[in-house]
């Protein structure tokens, strides 16, 4: 682990909400993960405050996706602690479900349910997990569809939508569970260039409302605009983390400099 300037200061999120410094959303302590013999994540320490927006960058294979997938237990870690909303992730299925209910996740390939309409995609979890009455769930779904600006697609099926629209539906689907934390796993990487913007706009507006977010992304413009902190990972380790300005203008580590020179032309 290299030197790190831990940004503990998340003073006031845009939107007027004040966030307490002691309010920890996610705490990862000394976490390791192996795939068989392959050591994917090495000694990860990461503390995320409520309302904080974090962008994780790094070359492919550096373990960024694996890290956020560990946070809602899509992957199992073998050593160390992950505490989400005060609940430590263990083998206990009840705890895992508890964490997953409060953590939304957006995938690179959207993973909408192709056999359900957009509206059904959005109401499925509120009805079956939260026990929300159907009519209420549908109202809420329409509300979030309006937020992502596609209420007119409610009765269509995922296959009838463009990639950008599908990804916005996926975001709305997560929001319908009213999560406290949102994880984004390369949400724009599978999109055509002209659709990236519409998805980023939704993510920016979410950030402005004070949502706690961790985004794995290559969109450095997005990182500059909304992140409180940029984390750089390589070979399963957190190499460097800093506020976006300092991170981009004054990278400390050689590996970071190389990476930035390759992606910022």
């Amino acid at each position: 682990m290299n030197q790190v300037s831990q940004t503990e200061s998340t003073s006031a999120a845009p939107g007027g909400m004040t966030v307490s410094d002691t309010d920890v959303a996610i705490d990862v302590v000394g976490m390791h993960k192996w795939y068989g013999d392959f050591h994917v994540l090495r000694d990860i320490d990461l503390r995320v405050m409520r309302g904080e927006r974090i962008v994780i960058a790094g070359p492919s294979g550096s373990g960024k996706s694996t890290l956020i997938r560990c946070i809602n237990r899509l992957e199992e870690h073998q050593q160390g602690q992950i505490i989400v909303n005060g609940t430590e992730l263990t083998n206990d299925l009840k705890r895992i479900d508890e964490v997953r209910r409060e953590v939304g996740m957006v995938f690179q390939h959207f993973n909408l349910f192709p056999h359900l309409t957009i509206l059904q995609n959005l109401t499925l979890a509120p009805i079956w997990v939260r026990g929300v009455p159907k009519a209420e769930a549908e109202d809420m779904a329409m509300h979030y569809l309006e937020r992502v600006k596609i209420p007119e697609q409610a009765m269509k099926f995922p296959g009838q939508l463009s990639g950008g629209q599908q990804q916005r539906v996926a975001i709305a689907r997560s929001l319908c569970m009213q999560p406290k934390i949102m994880l984004f796993d390369e949400p724009t990487s599978a999109l055509d260039p002209e659709m990236v913007k519409e998805v980023l706009e939704v993510m920016i507006s979410l950030a402005q409302e004070g949502m706690t977010m961790i985004c794995v992304t290559h969109e450095m413009g997005f990182a500059r605009q909304v992140a409180n902190r940029v984390i750089f990972m390589d070979q399963g380790q957190i190499i460097e983390q800093n506020e976006p300005e300092a991170f981009f203008s004054n990278p400390q580590h050689e590996r970071t400099k190389l990476f930035l020179s390759q992606i910022l032309h």
Binding site: R100, M105, F107, N111, F113, L124, G131, E136
Partner: protein, 396 residues
Amino acid sequence: MAVQGNLRTAPPRTSFFNDPVVRGIIYQVVVAAIVIGFFAWIIVNTAQNLAAQNKSTGFDFLFRTAGFNISFTLIPFDRSSYYWEAFLVGLLNTLLVAVIGIFFATILGFVLGIARLSSNWLISRFATVYVETIRNIPLLLQLFFWYFAVLKAMPAVRDSISLPMGIYINQRGLFVPKPVPDDQFVWVYAAVVLALVLCFALSRWAKRRLETTGKRFPVLLSSIGLFLVVVAVGFVLSGASVSFDMPELQRFNFRGGLELPPEFVALVFGLTIYTAAFIAENVRGGIQAVSHGQTEAAQSLGLKEGDRLRLVIVPQAMRVIIPPLTSQYLNLTKNSSLGAAIGYPELVNVFTGTTLNQTGKAIEVIAMTMAVYLTFSLLTSAFMNWYNGRVALVER
């Protein structure tokens, strides 16, 4: 260029034969001529041959006395019955084996298919060995195995193997007690119908309750409970009783009870075990066809494992499983004709075997038998097309 105007008014001449429309018409005329010619030749040829052999055609033979007996029938049949009754016996015997075989093969196939995906090494390896062994041995051989090596190797009637609940196995087949309901039993049937209606109403009510209040109701368990209670109450109140006609060993054979001949047992066994191996592969393929991302999305929304399977994975797997599953049902039905080889009186055995031999009405008999199997196939594919249209994923 000056020619441009000319190009528009006078397109370059295409050869007559290179015009796709003309070509299409020519091909169609040629194909139609070949098909019509072929059938005309067949019909004329057949008619001439039949005339040369002094044979008449027509279906009036169906109303003549068959004069032979059939060992296993679902409807009354004896030597004085007509040929059309023999046809019906064969048809019903085929359907009986097909329905029972399909029922058990589906259950066994689903269990094996899921077992093959199990994370338990022993279970998944067992399923793999089963599938790979059974799929790769000819069905006829398997039927011979069950019939000759297993059932015919059973002890003689005198030394029958006695199983609990009055079941006996010997060379002549399986003998089980036959339930004989009394007259009051109508009320029990009525109670069963009532219970089914109530269960249906209960599931409707539970669905509406979920939609309006968001509260879930354990429909399956309570339906089973409701069903059992209603039927039991009907049974007690009506005073119905059911007696069992037990098979009893007489001097030469069992008297009473229900006799399942070894041919029938062997055929059902063979077809079930063989087809289940194929169904298992279809089930495995269907489940694996649903991408892992679907499971992850459902997990990340907090859906529990049971809900994930029921609401997300199974509905998507079924649309992959159902089409090949239906063709397995069809295969099983058609394969039941192999029962002829071990003497089970199904359609091919009774009709294209004995009836054809006795009447010599080859064309009529073969046509009728083929029509039966063709009807099954067409009905099945009609159902399939309807189902596929209903569940197809909507895109674009």
